[in-house]
Structures are given as C-alpha cells and as structure tokens.
C-alpha cells in the first residue's frame, strides 16, 4: 500500500467510517436475530451469514483485501480450503458414525 496518494487515503477514510457504522449495525442485527423463535439450524445459518458479512467487511476494507495482490489471494484460497476441510470433514465423520 505504499503507492497510495493522500487523496486516495482520504477517500479510504470515508469507506472506513461507513464500514464501522455497518459493523455496529450488523452487531445489533445479530443480537436481534437471536431473540427470534427459529429452529437451531436456521439460527446457525442466520448467525453465520451475518458473521460472514461482518468478517468480509473487516477483511475487504480494514485489511485492504479488496485491492490486495494475487499472491495474498492464493494464500487465502489455500487457507480457506484447508479451513473448510477442517470444519466439515470431522463433522461428516461424526454424522456418519456407526450407531451402536
């Protein structure tokens, strides 16, 4: 990011404030959703969706991922794949477990 001009930085600052407001709002939303009478599955889905939006905002704008370099993208893709394997495969194993 060493090539940013002062004007570009000022523009980024406007984005940071917008993201901050969105994050605060989404936090209230996610707490609000938890008071809804929904099934556990729906609750998890909604919570994950909101958390993912918040996470994406932090990653894309605070962490500047939205205009990062290809090398970083490849690193993150590999990481996300490994992460998904770590989350879903043991879960599949326990769901497929032999019932005694």
């Amino acid at each position: 990011m060493s090539e940013l001009t002062p004007e570009q930085v000022k523009h980024h600052i406007k984005t940071y404030v917008l993201v901050f407001v969105s994050l605060a709002f989404l936090t209230i939303v996610t707490v609000g959703i938890s008071y809804l009478e929904v099934s556990v599955g729906m609750g998890i889905t909604l919570a994950l969706i909101v958390a993912s939006i918040k996470g994406s905002l932090v990653a894309c704008y605070f962490m500047h991922l939205i205009d990062e370099k290809v090398t970083i993208y490849w690193t993150l893709i590999a990481t996300v794949v490994a992460f998904l394997i770590l989350i879903f495969v043991p879960l599949s194993a326990i769901l497929d477990h032999t019932k005694i």
């Binding site: 990481t79 490994a82 770590l86 043991p90 194993a93 477990h97 032999t98």
Partner: protein, 571 residues
Amino acid sequence: MSSEHHKQSFLTKYIWSTDHKVIGIQYGITSLLWLLFGFLLMMIMRYQLAYPESPIPFVGSLFGESGILPSEMYNSLGAMHGTIMIFLGVVPLAFGAFGNYFVPLQIGAIDMAFPKLNAASYWMYFVGSVIMAIGFFVPGGAANSGWTSYPPLSNIATTGQTVWLLGMVMLITSSLLGSVNILVTVIQLRAEGMTWMKLPIFVWTQFITAFLLLLAFPPLEAAGVLQLMDRLAGTSFFMPSGLVVSGEVLTNAGGGSPLLWQHLFWFLAHPEVYVLILPAFGIVTEIIANNTRKPIWGYNALVYAMVFLGFMSFIVWAHHMYITGMGTSIGAFFQTTTMIISIPSVVILTTLLLSLWGGSIRFNTPMLFALGFIPMFGIGGLTGLPLGLAAADIHLHDTYYVIGHFHYVVAPGTIFALFAGIYYWFPKMTGKRTNETLGKLHFFFSMIFMNGIFMPMFVQGLAGVSRRLWDGGETYAHAADVLYLNEVMSVSAWLLGLAQIFFIVNMIISLFGKKTGEKNPWNATTLEWTDTTSPPLGHGNFEVVPTVYRGPYEYNVPGDDQDFTPQSKKV
C-alpha cells in the same frame, strides 16, 4: 544488516547469530544429537524385546535394582522415541538445518527474509526440546501414551504428558515461524532470473513443506490446548461420560469425545509424514542430477506431482482411524483419497528412476545413499497400500506391519536422504572433504542392517503381533512362530548403531582435516556451488549477487566445453 566489519563477540557470532548458515548448523547439530538419543532409546527397548525381563546392559541401573525395563518405562521410551525422532530429529534436520542453510543460497539471496525471526525459531526449538527432556525427570517419567497421545489414556496419564504438551506448543510455534520465513524468502528473495520453474527441486520441496507445516500444525496446537485444559482445568473435551478407571467412575463432567483428539491430531500428523519425505525427495533429486551428469527427467512432472501431493495430504488423514467405528461412506471417502495420493509418489519415484537412464553415474557416498533411498522408499510406499485399503487395514492396524511400513519410509528412506545431503554439502559448509572409504562403509552396513530391522516387522505384523507390546508378543499364541524374529531385529538394530560410528568418526576427522580450497568439488550447477566460496561469506553469502539465466540441472549441454553449465552463466 549492514556490512560493517565490526568485531563480533563469540556470543553474537555463534550463539545469537541471525546468519541463516549459522542457524542452519545450530539446527543441524542439535537435531543430530537428538537423533542419536532417540536411537539409543530404541536400542534399550529392543533389548527388552529380544530378551524379555533381562537386565539391560550398561544402563540397567537407571531402571531400579533389577535393571529390568519396567513396562511403563517401555511405554515412555516408545512414546519419546517417536516424538524425538519426528519432532526433534528429522524435521529440524530436514527443514530447519538443510532448509535454512541452502534455500537462501540456492535462490541467490543474502539471507532469509526475517533473520531475527529465524534465530528466534531455532531457540524456541531448543527450549522446546529441553522441555521434552525434562519429561524424563518428572514423577512418573516422560509421556507414555504413544507419540499419538490418544485420550482417554493420555488425559489420565502421569505428569510427563503435560510436559509433552507444553513442549509441543513450543515446537509447533517454532515450526510456524520457520515456515513463514521460508515461504516469504522463496516468494520474495529469489535473485533476478530465478523464475519458479528454474528453482532447484530442493527449493520446491522446502516451499511445499513450509506450506504444509503452516496450515496443518495449528489444529494440533488447538488440540494440545484442549488436552492441557482437560488435564489441568478438569474439562472433558476428550473424556466420554461415565469413564471407569481402576474400578472407579470418574467424576468429571463427561460428554467429550476421544475421536475429536484423533481427528485434530491426524489432521496434522498426516501432512507431517509428507513433511518428513518431501525434503528427502529434494535432496535426492539434487544429488542424482549431479551424479548422473544429466538434467532430471520430468522436472515439470516432479513439480506438479509434489504440489498435488501437498494438496492431497490434507484430505487423507482418517486412514489412520479406519477401525474407530467410522461409517462406510466416510471410510470410502478416505480410502479413495488415500489411493489417489499414492499416484504422485509413484510419479516422483519414476522421474527419479528415469533420471538414471543414460547417465554417467558417479558412485560416490552421497549418490550411494540417494540410490539406496529409491528402493527403500519404494518398499515403504508399497507396503502402505494395504494399510490404505480399509478392509486390509482391519487386520493390519496397530500391528508391526505398520511399524515396518513407516520406518521404511523414514529410516532407510528420509534418513538415508539426509545422510546423502550431509555428505554432499559437507564440502560447501566446511571447505573440507569427507573420507570416501568411511562413507561407503557407513552406507553398506546401514543398508544391510536397516533391512535386518524392518523387513521382519512385516512378517510379525501379518501374523498379528500388535505394536507397543512390552513383551514383544510373548504372551500371545498367534505370535509364537514369529517371536524369534525379535532377537534378529534387535541384533540388527545394535549393529546399525555400531555402523553409525563410521559416520561419527568420519565427521570428526573430516572437520579436523585440511581445507581443500575447492568451491565446487562436485562440479554442480546450482548457485550454492557456483557462486559462493566454501564456506560461503559470513555476511551476505555472495561477493556478487548472481543473476540466473538457466535451469538448475544443465549438465552435458551440447556445445558446451564443460559437462556442467552453472545457472548463473550468461546464455
């Protein structure tokens, strides 16, 4: 890092050094000492297996008046032998020592990307290894639940297990920092002209290994934290409800799962075995190219196979868990991925074999070890296939067959490759030569006795002899016919130990030998040989940082006046 020629104190130059070459040697010496210690532990165990309940010679007094190795202590030696060989021996040598020393040199860099972090990684490894050593001195002795530390046993085990966990946290952190360093160094500090497909295969293997360590180790660190919580804070992450120990029901909350540990553990430990073999592939490739005087056959295939191998290594782990009651669907998934992952290994071995065809082979000591690696790794790999097939694994799981399989890949596999690397790069690191006669004796006797130890294990395993048995199967009728092999294997093990004296003596006399002044005695093509002195310059490696014009293995290029063309030679 400026190039002032200030006088550095001994401490700064050799102990707290941030020079990747010094750090590489620090890793090398520490890991070789640990390999020796791990070997000694095994020699003691093998005495008990050959002559059950006989007093152990020389060190028997450590085990009490009778001198007989108690069964709990046998378990400690077993768990620590595995832990030490893998985490304190092979990986620090293959990745920490060779990686640190030669990756910057081979890519034309003046040091690693983060020299201070590099020093910190070494010292964390050192502290981690001291913590592991302390385990032997706490009440109850060192960890004794296998290097795999399965709960519930490891949860209720003696204090040594907690020490093991703390040591692992330190070692894992060291490894993570080292991985970041290698990755950034290879991506950012390649010299001009050193494109990805001009990298020596050794650098590729270090790069892929670093990625595996980076992404696979943290879940084990998480599991370690969870087990520490179970042991120290009384949680029940891995403890099922209603567990009965020594006739009493445990009072903890329960509701946990031992399988959780196994998933998190093997998520690391499977990629870990590729961490053990990839650097070996890299070293063997360098030596084969150099000693056949021709380029490696199938450079691209090698690279793609190794990248594919790295990726696949993340989705095969539960082949270590086939008999835990897994459902057939998930079992079939892991069996499929496991069969698929054997393909890149075959591609790799094939490229190495085909590289020999038509070569002018020089049978020096490094080449002998590299050549020996090929069939030994072949046996190791092939014996893995029945283990990867769920049905056959039912019979073979946790038997001596498994021990034979993995030792073939690591011992006459990786460790032979590491010896090859030591003999090959010794002249570069020291400016001196090793003794060829001693080297060849080391090779021949090691080759014979490695097979003497590990081949009979397949026979015992197929007969059904379980691993981790203090009495070597004596109490079981099904083991009766193969029990005699215990003595055969033990004698081979002790003779293998004696054969290492050739290596140790060789190292000592060579280190005290005369400097030859030769920069490139093997007439090799890669930058560490062609563009640096032996040993390379203290600050910055290169008098002139090279530019790269060619691939890494340009041997016998038609029209050239020499039979090797350096990477840095202008086109």
